[in-house]
Symmetry: C2
Subunit: 334 residues, 2 copies
């Protein structure tokens, strides 16, 4: 149960029954292509807008996770879901006809960690046997929401990231699965005063460092207890800050750290600049690549730490800083 200042170690540990990753064409041409369940070449996924395309990704990812878990949607008691769009309309229009009780979340690109945390808390407490946790992002809807519509054809600075198009969905279960959610560490908002919206890694790294530090403290573990500590979309600058901040606090994670944003694209051939980002970046990398490593027992235990930059065009245009947040989830192969 309660473990230290910010963590829970579950008594009745919930399982990941199944998961699914569906990505766009560019992600399907990247280094992790083989680990994704489905690659959709049409960026609008047959829909009329980028926003509805994102919703379609989310609904299809949930449907596939249900199919892989051999359960029906009616077996889900709750959904925990969110996305990057203003008022999380990506999630609303994905789930508007599904008829499952839903808790709408906003954690920016940390949403997969937030939704898995709440899903695990809900199942471990006995409130539900099967719960869906999911998130999505889409290059088209994110650029339109935060920067310029793709049709405008603006140039992207080299420090900018590329929003991942796709969705990752997990079924968290009280009884079935080979990977357990052993515990969680819930993050606090960290504001280091970063005001450069093209340098999100620097904005998010302190939040990631804080929640990883707190996890190790609460568990009384050294980093080596993890085969891998997996952050969301810090990129190379953010990674450097993360490693340094933790080293300053006597934890060296440099050899066991990976960042999903640095792995999902190959900048040399894909021209994505500073790496991948978006809620789906960590979600599909976890559902695809990381779960594969756990299932094959190449990894035994990982700490999944997706990171979110908490800004809107409004807060940015009004000159506010970009605070960060990160939520950590301990995943363990049985």
């Amino acid at each position: 149960m309660k473990q230290g200042k910010q963590s829970i170690l579950f008594e009745k540990t919930p399982y990941i029954r199944s998961c699914a990753s569906i990505v766009g064409k560019k992600e399907g041409e990247g280094p992790l292509a083989q680990f994704f369940d489905k690659i959709i070449d049409d960026p609008t996924f047959g829909e009329e807008t980028w926003e509805l395309a994102e919703s379609r990704f989310q609904l299809e990812a949930l449907s596939l996770a249900l199919k892989k878990g051999k359960i029906k949607k009616e077996d889900l008691r709750y959904l925990f879901a969110g996305d990057l769009q203003g008022q999380i309309t990506g999630t609303t229009f994905a789930m508007k006809d599904i008829g499952i009780p839903i808790f709408g979340l906003y954690g920016a690109c940390s949403t997969m960690g937030e939704s898995l945390s709440l899903a695990a808390m809900t199942v471990a407490a006995g409130y539900a046997d099967e719960v869906g946790a999911l998130t999505s992002s889409h290059l088209g809807s994110a650029e339109k929401n935060f920067r310029f519509p793709l049709e405008y054809g603006n140039q992207r600075p080299l420090s900018s990231t590329w929003t991942v198009t796709g969705s990752g969905a997990f079924i968290v279960s009280s009884s079935q699965g080979s990977v357990k959610i052993k515990g969680i560490t819930t993050g606090v908002i960290k504001d280091y005063g970063v005001k450069d919206s093209m340098n999100m890694g620097a904005a998010m790294a302190p939040a990631a460092a804080d929640v990883i530090y707190q996890n190790l403290q609460d568990m009384d573990w050294q980093p080596e207890e993890y085969d891998q500590i997996v952050t969301g979309d810090l990129g190379s600058v953010g990674r450097e800050i993360l490693i340094k901040l933790l080293k300053d606090n006597s934890y060296d994670i440099s050899k066991i750290h990976m960042d999903c944003g640095m792995r999902i694209f190959d900048d040399e051939t894909q021209d994505t600049h500073a790496g991948g980002s978006g809620c789906a970046c960590s979600a599909v990398t976890l559902a695809g690549y990381c779960m594969d490593k756990l299932m094959k027992k190449e990894w035994h235990r990982i700490l999944f730490v997706p990171t979110g930059a908490l800004l809107s065009t409004m807060s940015f245009n009004e000159g506010q800083s970009v605070p960060g947040i990160a939520h950590a989830v301990i995943l363990e192969r049985q």
Copy 2:
């Protein structure tokens, strides 16, 4: 524990330790003025923007709830909070320096029901002893986000609502308080195809009717088990639809129903048109008026059902419908 299809009846029932309501000048001139803890005459609350003003309302409401509950912020293990602004920046900038683990939520104007539900689930499960649940809205930030900046001075149609400026905060506790959160019923998204963004009541009424119906079914209760069923911001048109939909399903709630949006302003003298709306509308009416009725034992048990309209300017401008959601919370005086 699990009760029927969508409800939880808590075994170890959590309490409302304390709550606070802080509102703007107009709300402080309305019919419920005497029930609010604080009325702030300055619409910017000393800040530079509407958005930062909203954040100030939220932080002050939490501080006051902590003070009234005689606990320190460090005693809170989690915060469940959200607001109407895109990417919930109202919440981000309110809580960016508080240092408490936070789950960011988006449920539009149903957020107070969503945050109380998750706070109660968390405390009842033993994950925490004291948790904060809160939300806010601000006329200035909402008009700017969804319609026109106030400075533009556009005319408002008579069917439009007036976003409540303020914040309601609750401390949910494992041990202290005179009002218990006996149970919850979590809503599903309902889409009746309403496309008129000036008729939010009609968009939200089906979701409210559905969650109230499901609550009565799951509990196997008649409406009379409640002294009051309190919806968020349906307004008069939405109320009529709600009463009718439930009557069609053999439940008559007409004599025990109140809508916060219809009570918080006096349209005849305040020129607010179709009533109050916004996350704070139901939050401050619950924290002020309803909690007072419960504390004085004028009411013994109520069902709190804040309602949310799930749209963004993006979804609206792209011609999408406005789905609704509502989350129900059973509050009982000891």
